[in-house]
């Protein structure tokens, strides 16, 4: 099994991409969008413009907001960076790799076209964001 197959296979196992055809997954599995971070490395930086949208393929990250005792943990299949990217604002939290992290990044300026090209991904994303909202609202 080659690494490319692994990237496509990794994507196909994620809820976010589970409705897509293999050809779509191959188009998304762009090696230039593949990111690796070491443990402790900052992925998203609070207060900095120009960030992207990330989907975790492997590993763990933490959302760290100042004075927050319990950072939210992110794992395989989770995504982050959508608020700052969709609203074109600076992130309000740091996201830090808590283990070697393998992720796919859709650069901010490409996210709109990406979501319009793959509406099933947009729908899945909306479901997740709605769940988060429900959890916050109780």
């Amino acid at each position: 099994m080659t690494e490319r197959d692994e990237l496509v296979r990794s994507l196909s196992g994620l809820t976010l991409f589970s409705d897509l055809r293999d050809a779509d997954l191959e188009a998304i599995a762009d090696p230039e969008l593949e990111r690796r971070f070491g443990e402790g490395e900052r992925v998203l930086r609070r207060g900095l413009s120009g960030s992207g949208f990330y989907v975790i393929l492997d590993g763990e990250a933490a959302v760290e907001i100042a004075d927050d005792d319990e950072p939210r943990r992110l794992r395989r299949g989770d995504f982050f960076g959508e608020v700052s990217t969709l609203l074109d604002c600076k992130p309000t939290a740091d996201v830090i790799a808590r283990s070697p992290l393998h992720a796919l990044e859709i650069p901010g300026p490409q996210l709109e076209a990406f979501l319009l090209q793959y509406p099933r991904v947009t729908y899945r994303m909306l479901q997740t964001v709605t769940r988060r909202l429900r959890d916050v609202l109780g």
């Binding site: 293999d22 050809a23 188009a27 070491g38 900095l48 300026p109």
Partner: protein, 489 residues
């Protein structure tokens, strides 16, 4: 010409640093380390300097400009921005060696002009290299030092800089591709006369082939899953490769750039059958062509480095590394040249660094050399200083004229520390650990193509970003920029 016998420098033995490679990355790293007083041994499997430019690009023309006459004086630091292909040196006489060798037919050098410029640097500086010496394997000694086994014997060192190039043919895992010639095996264009050619790939090397074959081939079809991102191309030096074939595609002139996930490639008599699925426009696609060329990319020849903990990105083709181009902190395994794209930086607004090109990685090498010395050999090399009252005009002067910041946008920064020391550093590293840093400035570009200075100020562990406005002549030294920056600092 290979140096032979006792004239060959750097016999196997113990050295503080070993540099592997004699392309632009290796020569630049070796030069920068030597200027910091490091006794580094530089070895190369080749028999002359130049690296990939001894052979590539296939169609003999580079992408990035070198302007013999420019708004800055040749030999100066400011001139470097107008000359993307020469290696950089502290001495004006060793600066800008490529432009005088160009015949001015084009603003970008030919491959032989580039090769000659690199050879001139190696000879004039000089940068001694042990040619004909192949690195074969690597291990770590009990004392933690690295041992490089070569065709000439073993080299032991505290740190090694691998400037290996990214030119080993790499094939996408498509059934049948094993019989397909790679980009590197493209024949002379006249041999494609009247033939229908399918090129696998739609990146730089694929369009270089398409551009080169247009005057000869009956038809060129390019295919890969992802569409060409014309908005990104508009601001990239590689667009010159794309212009003619993509115009041909857009106007229906016979060339096609298909968004196609290729399922398999088969021999049918003396032709090829290419089958796949459309991506942007779904549907089965089948083509019969006379030739297929795999422009599927390249990899860095890492040999056994992964056994020493080197991780990879981009489907295993490129080593992953820290912002200072070390495979992992303290490992002593550094990279120079094209492979430094393995440290992607922040990629703000999706804009990547120029680390795969000479004008980007020549600065990476200079910063890496200072970091390597400070980390592994000590003491940290001395820095120039700036007085605090001059901080704002100094940062704006750098944003306007520093070639490092223009070449490596949002990637390399001019940092100023509270004691007045100043140095060029990777932005990602400075943001994560500004230490006693007061401020850092970069040149950045957003998705609309606007270019502007970004100043990062550090106070009590927090870093604040200030984006200054663009200027119609890219000169940020005026009173408005200075007033805004002074107020923020």
């Amino acid at each position: 010409m290979a140096e032979t016998g006792h004239d060959r420098p750097f016999p196997p033995g113990d050295y503080p640093v070993v540099v592997v490679g004699s392309g632009p990355g290796g020569l630049q790293a070796s030069y920068c380390l030597s200027r910091l007083g490091v006794d580094c041994a530089t070895i190369s499997q080749d028999d002359a300097p130049g690296g990939m430019f001894r052979q590539f690009p296939i169609f003999q023309r580079l992408l990035s400009w070198s302007k013999p006459d420019a708004p800055a004086e040749p030999g100066t630091r400011e001139y470097e921005w107008y000359d993307h292909n020469s290696l950089v040196a502290d001495e004006p006489r060793h600066q800008g060696l490529v432009p005088p060798l160009m015949d001015r037919s084009y603003i970008v050098p030919s491959r032989p002009e580039m090769e000659a410029g690199l050879a001139a640097f190696a000879e004039q500086v000089p940068v001694p290299v042990r040619y004909g010496c192949s690195w074969e394997s690597t291990r770590r000694a009990d004392d933690g030092r690295l041992v490089l086994a070569t065709s000439d014997g073993e080299y032991t060192c505290r740190a090694a800089v691998f400037a290996l190039g990214v030119t080993t043919p790499w094939f996408s895992p498509i059934p049948g591709i094993e019989d397909v010639p790679h980009y590197v095996d493209t024949r002379p264009p006249e041999e494609y006369r009247g033939r229908r050619v399918f090129v696998i790939g739609k990146r730089n090397s694929a369009f270089e082939i398409a551009d080169g074959l247009l005057p000869w081939a009956q038809q060129v079809v390019l295919g890969s899953p992802r569409p060409v991102q014309t908005s990104v191309l508009a601001q990239a030096t590689v667009r010159v490769r794309y212009l003619q074939p993509f115009e041909d595609h857009a106007l229906g002139g016979g060339t096609f750039a298909l968004d196609l996930a290729v399922d398999r490639i088969e021999r049918v008599g003396d032709r090829w059958r290419v089958s796949g699925q459309g991506t942007t426009r779904p549907g089965a696609i089948e083509l019969e062509v006379d030739d297929v060329i795999a422009a599927t990319g390249f990899s860095a020849p890492l040999l056994d480095l992964e056994e020493l903990g080197v991780r990879t990105v981009a489907q295993g083709r490129i080593p992953a590394m820290t912002p200072f181009w070390e495979s992992s902190p303290g490992s002593g395994i550094y990279f120079a040249g094209n492979a430094t794209q393995g440290a992607p930086g922040l990629r703000k607004h999706g804009v990547g660094a120029a680390s795969a090109a000479v004008h980007g990685f020549r600065y990476n090498a200079r910063v890496m050399a200072r970091h390597l010395v400070g980390t592994h050999l000590g003491p940290k090399p001395a820095c120039p200083t700036v007085d605090a009252p001059e901080l704002a005009p100094y940062l704006l002067e750098e944003a306007t004229t520093a070639p490092e910041l223009w070449a490596q946008k949002a990637y390399l920064a001019r940092a100023v520390y509270r004691n007045g020391d100043t140095e060029i550093v990777p932005l990602a590293a400075w943001l994560d650990d500004p230490g006693d840093g007061a401020a850092a400035v970069t040149v950045e570009m957003d998705a609309s193509g606007d270019v502007y200075p970004a100043v990062y100020s550090s106070a009590e562990g927090n870093v604040r970003e200030l984006l200054l406005p663009p200027h119609h002549l890219n000169d940020f030294r005026g009173p408005e920029h200075e007033a805004e920056l002074r107020a923020a600092l």
